[in-house]
Subunit: 186 residues, 2 copies
DNA sequence: GGATTAAGTGGACTATAGTCCGTTTGTGTG
DNA sequence: CACACAAACGGACTATAGTCCACTTAATCC
């Protein structure tokens, strides 16, 4: 029941500087061509500061994606159906996959960085737990009798940024989307 | 149609030395705790030699897995049904997933290294093409009308070493297996 | 407003993957 | 066998992620 210890003023200033610098560099040079050193230099902070605040490369990507991610989570929790509550589970599932594909394909490089900066990174991100729980709940309703929890895991696997990159690179976005959706209508 | 230029004697000698050293170190210290420098030193070759021969870390892992991989591929192409030819496509698909899970879960760390050493590595490995083609052919037969090729891609996604590591770590091997198989019986 | 202290800072340092290139060695040829 | 040359070698070098810690600074309390 203690207050959350407030962020110090210099820390807040630096967080903003880093996020702005990272966004700028990623836009200009492409996510894959920007090193953490470069981000620190562009932001005018030390390397130690950068890592203390964001943990690692993946953490920086997550912070940049945060806003869009919250939007999607908000729409799922309290937006209009079929993405939000109110529609049958099967339809919500399809709507979720569509919306999630929009989100990932819209920021493919960043999401990829957040998921592949180190092995297993994807499954350690807080948001992953959210998506998995949501899918598991819908699956449990749509297909009673299935082992919903691990099945949700398995269904999210083709939505990994690394997989979508390969799929979209080979077939284009449209066919990639269709293939992933097809898994649901089995 | 020239002969394949034979491997030089010193090169062959070094290839064997490196593979033996890598196998030994991986067994003793665990795949994740062995650097390429350490492998080169243990094998008594220079770093350049190591990389010239195997390309990168992922390539070294692939070379070490080569034998087991060929075994599985042989069983698929010309072994007894249901893994080999002769059984209905649906049964062959299930048999493939089971056999593939045996293979990956039996060498999880090595396969993981081969798939995650760099983003997208999994999809660049030659063997991936084989698994994908096999699954696509079986899918085309088992479910006419589906877009078999990208669907095969999507079905292989939950079989990625990174995903299986997370799944098995959380639920144990048995439930992880069951969840992946359940995708097929949809 | 000065003292106290926990949080924050920055950059030198380490570890490691992967590159480069001058040197060595195996092999095929006269 | 000697020579020529392509192939292979090895280790110094670069790039980059991430750690560490001596120092600075913002907030708090009297």
């Amino acid at each position: 029941m203690g207050e959350p210890p407030a962020e110090r003023a210099d820390a807040a200033r630096n967080r903003v500087k880093v996020l702005a610098a990272a966004a700028r560099l990623f836009r200009e040079k492409g996510v894959d061509n920007v090193s953490m050193d470069a981000v620190a230099a562009e932001a005018g902070v030390g390397k130690g500061t950068l890592f203390r605040r964001f943990g690692d490369k993946s953490g920086l990507a997550v912070a940049l994606l945060d806003e869009r991610e919250r939007e999607l989570q908000g729409a799922i929790l309290s937006g209009p159906p079929p993405l939000g509550p109110g529609a049958p589970a099967g339809e919500r599932l399809t709507a979720f996959v569509d919306a999630y594909l929009d989100y990932v394909l819209g920021h493919l490089d960043l999401v990829r960085m957040s998921e592949t900066s180190s092995p297993g990174a994807r499954y350690r991100i807080g948001a992953y737990r959210f998506w998995r729980l949501h899918v598991a709940i819908l699956l449990a309703e749509a297909r009673p009798g299935c082992d919903a929890d691990p099945l949700a895991h398995a269904l999210l696997a083709p939505l990994a940024a690394d997989h979508l990159t390969a799929l979209a690179g080979e077939y284009g976005e449209a066919r990639a989307r269709a293939a992933v959706r097809a898994l649901l209508s089995c």
